[in-house]
């Protein structure tokens, strides 16, 4: 599903590369934690995955496509196969819960009747029944993240990318979000999640890829946050 081959990324003006010779293989349906200190290269990894940046050298394959050779106008098509969730939710404050989720479908030109049909289903999946007409400032942080997750998966992407999705949430709420991500993973969506949250990583017992100074220093099948060190 995702393959990095000897990927190096040197940002313009930076003295040290953000990623050095990274080779990673992520299979379809896997759940992968990406861990490492701030500035270790996790974010660069995710940005390369979304093709917000191109690698300096090496090849990246996502969903059967070589991102280094992907034409600019095909990038939107790629991104429709990748759902995205962030620490800061990134919701539109002037749209309701249902409106925020619908936005993702509206901007890619889905017909209105299809949107009407799928929204209740996806809101039920993420546990937001009855909140359709609330605005983001009327619901809790955990609920806001659920809206963001609903928006990310409503288009049925093959991969869900989560960048510190629990970073702004208390531990209890975080567990709820992780259960939701796990459920989405079980439906068949590959999940790549960057996190600092030791407790969550240790609890989930999923594959852990640790990045330090731009290098993959650990790739463990049923890993915990700090083992191996």
């Amino acid at each position: 599903m995702i393959r990095f081959e000897n990927v190096t990324k040197l940002h313009k003006g930076a003295s040290r590369p953000a990623l050095r010779d990274v080779t990673v293989d992520i299979e379809k349906g896997e759940f992968v934690f990406l861990v490492g200190a701030s500035g270790s290269g996790k974010s660069t990894f995710l940005r390369l995955l979304l093709r917000e940046e191109r690698p300096t050298s090496g090849t990246i394959w996502v969903a059967g496509k070589d991102l280094t050779k992907l034409a600019g106008w095909k990038v939107p098509v790629l991104r429709r196969q990748l759902g995205c969730v962030f620490q800061d939710f990134r919701l539109l404050p002037n749209r309701t819960v249902a409106g925020n989720v619908a936005f993702a479908l509206e901007v890619i030109g889905r017909p209105a009747d299809e949107i009407k049909r799928v929204i209740p289903n996806v809101l039920e999946l993420v546990g937001l029944e009855g909140k359709e007409d609330s605005y983001p400032n009327e619901i809790s942080g955990g609920e806001q993240q659920r809206v963001a997750i609903a928006r990310a998966i409503v288009n049925r992407p093959q991969v869900l990318i989560a960048d510190e999705p629990t970073g702004n949430l208390d531990p209890e709420t975080s567990i709820g979000i992780m259960k939701l991500l796990d459920r989405i993973n079980r439906i068949g969506t590959t999940v790549v999640m960057a996190t600092h949250d030791v407790a969550i990583v240790d609890q989930m017992r999923k594959r852990v890829i640790e990045i330090e100074d731009g290098r993959v220093v650990r790739d463990q099948a049923r890993g915990v946050y700090g083992s191996g060190a």
């Binding site: 939107p76 429709r80 196969q81 990748l82 936005f103 901007v107 928006r151």
Partner: protein
């Protein structure tokens, strides 16, 4: 993209930046009014040229008793010379279309008509008036051919082209038109810069929406379309205002004021104003879309 979605995005965008939208509408209106005026002045000059060049003549003034140019040294023109000139003029067919002899009496009458409110007319006598041939050319630009043949000939005092005096007027008018055009060009440039800046502000105020659109895989055109339509709609409103101002100018200034005062010439008709419509829409909306596209390419990169 569904039309309804795009439409709601455009209307919220226009409402969100009312003042900037208004600024775009006004500058587009002003610059296009100037641009349109300069085009109308050009049409007016063309109209007058067509009208007057059809009527201008070459005048060959003949020597009278008081002429003092060398070709008149032997005194007033003789009947023989007159007949010879007339004969030679006929040989210039088809360039020479019509020849008409104006006698002293007719010249005096014309003079009196031209200066009817002046004491000059009362004191003028027939003897002071020159005899002349009025020559109509099939191609008025070929004046020099006739001039070369008759200038300085015995019995001819002067060969005068009426076109020359008209050309001075037309030159002044095209000068006016060029100034209007130059000001319009500067205004259009300012308009372009303002639209570009407006788009920057609009892109900034909607960066959250556009960043989400990018993430969920909206195409470049889907992201840019609402912005482009916003610029186009504002420019279109400005263009309509400009066309309204030009139509009002044509009606009040030309039809109601100038045409009744200056009856000696014709003025542009409504067809000139109507032909402006596609031009101004093309320039106004085209300018808006072009400057918006250039700006958005920078600020809304996928």
């Amino acid at each position: 993209m569904r039309a309804g979605f795009v439409f709601s995005e455009v209307t919220t965008g226009l409402r969100r930046n009312v003042t900037l939208t208004l600024a775009v509408v006004i500058t587009v209106a002003v610059s296009l009014t100037l641009f349109g005026s300069s085009l109308l002045v050009r049409a007016q000059v063309q109209e007058m040229k067509d009208y007057w060049y059809d009527r201008v003549e070459v005048s060959i003034f003949l020597c009278g008793d008081i002429s003092d140019v060398p070709s008149c040294a032997s005194g007033a023109v003789t009947e023989e010379e007159k007949d010879q000139i007339k004969q030679d003029l006929r040989d210039f067919k088809p360039l020479v279309q019509k020849v008409y002899f104006e006698s002293k009496a007719e010249a005096l009458q014309r003079f009196k008509e031209q200066f009817k409110d002046s004491p000059l007319a009362e004191n003028a006598t027939e003897d002071q008036m020159p005899e002349s041939f009025r020559v109509k050319l099939s191609d008025p630009t070929q004046f020099s051919v006739v001039a070369a043949a008759f200038m300085g000939r015995q019995g001819i005092e002067e060969v005068r082209d009426q076109r020359q005096s008209l050309d001075r007027l037309f030159k002044a008018l095209s000068g006016l038109q060029n100034i209007a055009l130059a000001v319009a060009a500067v205004m259009l440039l300012v308009t372009g810069l303002l639209i570009s800046n407006t788009m920057r502000v609009a892109a900034f105020s909607r960066r959250r929406e556009t960043s989400i659109m990018r993430l969920v895989g909206a195409s470049n055109s889907a992201i840019q379309l609402p912005f482009l339509l916003e610029a186009a709609v504002a420019a279109l409103i400005g263009t309509i205002v400009a066309l309204g101002l030009l139509a009002a100018g044509k009606y009040y200034l030309i039809d109601n004021t100038l045409a009744s005062t200056f009856t000696f010439t014709t003025f542009i008709g409504w067809d000139s104003v109507i032909t402006l419509i596609p031009t101004l829409i093309f320039v106004g909306v085209g300018l808006a879309i072009a400057s918006a596209l250039l700006t958005l390419r920078k600020y809304l990169k996928v």
